[in-house]
């Protein structure tokens, strides 16, 4: 953003407008790519079928067709639903996802907000979606949605902790909460003196990455942690009563959320937008950076969706046991080890 503003004199409101449009693009593009590549194509190939093939070459326009379909559907609000809350819930979730993207850096100068508490902001803001899900579950006036919403509340709150603790290890190693700083630390670092690929934290923080992936899967309510949705029991859980544009918002939020968490994981563990060998401040990284980040998002999302399409789901109490009895102690051990090794070396 700084490079652009020196070339053209933009006032503050014009900058904000650009950033808003930019965030929209940054959210919808990865979401669309993830939906097409993973949900439509990868899922189909894993099931020996082809997926959508009619809309556009190899079904590439299917997403546009879906969006058009959802927009023109009738908006049904249940008779006994709380109208205002019912309408509000999808927007809360979408808001939380959009805010997560605000602090993810896409290049040395291509960022929307360079907060010094970047990581903290991300974790805090991603928890806002819990509210939206609870509101959706209650306001639907449907016992199944209520069950889904309550399950979601328990699950999402439980898995916030392993996520935070997994990230603490990264922060300790990088020494900063700033996302750009973490990218720089990985780029400048060395593994046993070899600085060829920098020091992506996935190598030293492998346990943290593993825990982050599991917690991420749970935060996105993907199988094996999709009890809140539980298609075969609750039809769609908290989303059951939503139709048309409102459901589209949930859908976008789900996949944009997957993209957002994958972007955060890529930045924290895989080195973000930086390419090993290319200088951190190079101008070309403003264009290459987003592409590199997109590739890393796809890699992380591949793992997430691969697990989603393979495993059955946990029961709620087994879910909670996994979070409290396995993941949290493991992440605490990870933090301890990181602290000791950081001081020792």
């Amino acid at each position: 953003m700084t490079a652009l503003t020196t070339a053209v004199e933009l006032s503050y409101w014009q900058q904000t407008l650009l950033r808003t449009v930019g965030v929209l693009a940054a959210v919808l593009l990865p979401a669309g790519t993830l939906v097409y590549v993973f949900l439509f194509k990868m899922m189909s190939f894993m099931q020996s079928r082809l997926g959508p093939m009619e809309a556009g070459p190899y079904g590439s326009m299917q997403l546009l067709a879906e969006v058009g379909k959802w927009i023109q559907k009738e908006d049904i609000v249940p008779w006994r639903a709380d109208r205002k809350l019912f309408a509000l819930a999808p927007y809360i979730i979408v808001l939380s996802v959009f805010m997560t993207y605000v602090v993810v850096p896409f290049g040395p100068d291509a960022w929307f907000a360079n907060l010094d508490v970047g990581v903290f902001f991300v974790l805090a803001v991603s928890s806002v979606s819990v509210l939206g899900i609870l509101i959706a579950g209650w306001a639907s006036a449907n016992k199944y949605s209520l069950l889904g919403g309550l399950r979601a509340a328990g699950q999402l709150i439980a898995y916030e902790l392993p996520m935070v603790l997994a990230v603490v290890g990264v922060v300790i190693q990088a020494g900063t909460l700033n996302m750009q700083g973490i990218v720089a630390a990985q780029h400048e670092g060395e593994i046993f003196g070899l600085g060829v690929i920098g020091n992506p934290f996935i190598i030293t923080q492998a346990i943290g990455f593993f825990i982050f992936l599991i917690a991420m899967q749970a935060e996105l309510t993907q199988a094996p942690f999709d009890m809140p949705i539980a298609e075969s029991e609750l039809v769609s859980g908290y989303m059951t009563e939503y139709s048309g544009m409102r459901f589209l918002l949930f859908f976008i939020a789900e996949f944009a959320g997957a993209g957002a968490f994958a972007a955060v994981a890529a930045t924290l563990f895989l080195g973000g937008w930086a390419l090993p060998g290319v200088d951190l401040d190079a101008d070309v990284m403003n264009v290459l950076g987003p592409i590199v980040l997109l590739v890393k998002i796809l890699v992380v999302s591949f793992l997430v969706f691969w697990v989603r399409f393979t495993y059955p789901r946990f029961r709620e109490d087994q879910l909670q046991q996994l979070a409290w009895k396995v993941l949290i102690p493991l992440s605490l051990v990870n933090i301890l080890a990181t602290m000791v090794l950081k001081v020792a070396f």
Binding site: M46, R49, T310
Partner: protein, 184 residues
């Protein structure tokens, strides 16, 4: 909770392996030199109808064809249909005697023979019960209509389906059945 039993690969990893293997088999079905050329249309189990079509078995029960010349309006098929979807009307007529100087024969002529495919259960009792080999199965299945009334196939249309009737196949070894012939 999740126990890793010794050096055996945990089931979680094996499951991931199964889905990954299926994905690669679908995306890269070729063998030999062409292994890495993606060709999902070939590797997937999907038949992309209407661009590609599967041929059903010769005995598949798609549509019933009528050989009008063989029908003697005995009404056995209409009576044995579980849904009563065959509508037959006929009248008695006289045909010339077989030998000169003989009595004129009375024959049944077929006026109307309709099968309502909206009701038909595709059970095949009519075809089986016909003593005069006038009804045959054909594996043809693409005759859906926009109007329900168009699913009532009349005598002419049923006669046209005779062209789609395949010849009867040979039987497996050990069978004592004789292969019947389709009258063309």
């Amino acid at each position: 909770m999740a126990k890793l039993s010794g050096p055996k690969t945990p089931g979680l990893i094996k499951g991931l392996g199964v889905t990954f293997k299926t994905m690669t088999r679908t995306m890269f079905p070729a063998r030999g030199i062409k292994t890495l050329i993606p060709a999902p249309s070939v590797g997937a189990a999907t038949v992309q109808y209407p661009h590609e079509k599967e041929t059903p078995a010769p005995r598949a029960r798609g549509v019933i064809a009528l050989k009008e010349d063989n029908c003697t309006v005995c009404m056995l098929c209409a009576r044995s249909c579980p849904d009563w979807c065959i509508y037959i009307e006929g009248h008695k007529d006289t045909a010339p005697p077989r030998r000169p100087g003989g009595k004129p024969r009375s024959v049944n002529r077929l006026d109307r023979f309709d099968i309502d495919y909206a009701l038909c259960m595709y059970c095949g009792i009519c075809v089986e019960v016909c003593p005069f080999d006038a009804l045959f199965w054909s594996p043809e299945y693409e005759y859906s209509e926009l109007k329900l009334a168009d699913l009532l196939h009349d005598k002419e249309r049923l006669g046209e389906w005779m062209q789609a009737v395949p010849d009867f196949e040979a039987y497996e070894a050990g069978s004592e059945q004789k292969v019947r012939k389709v009258p063309r």
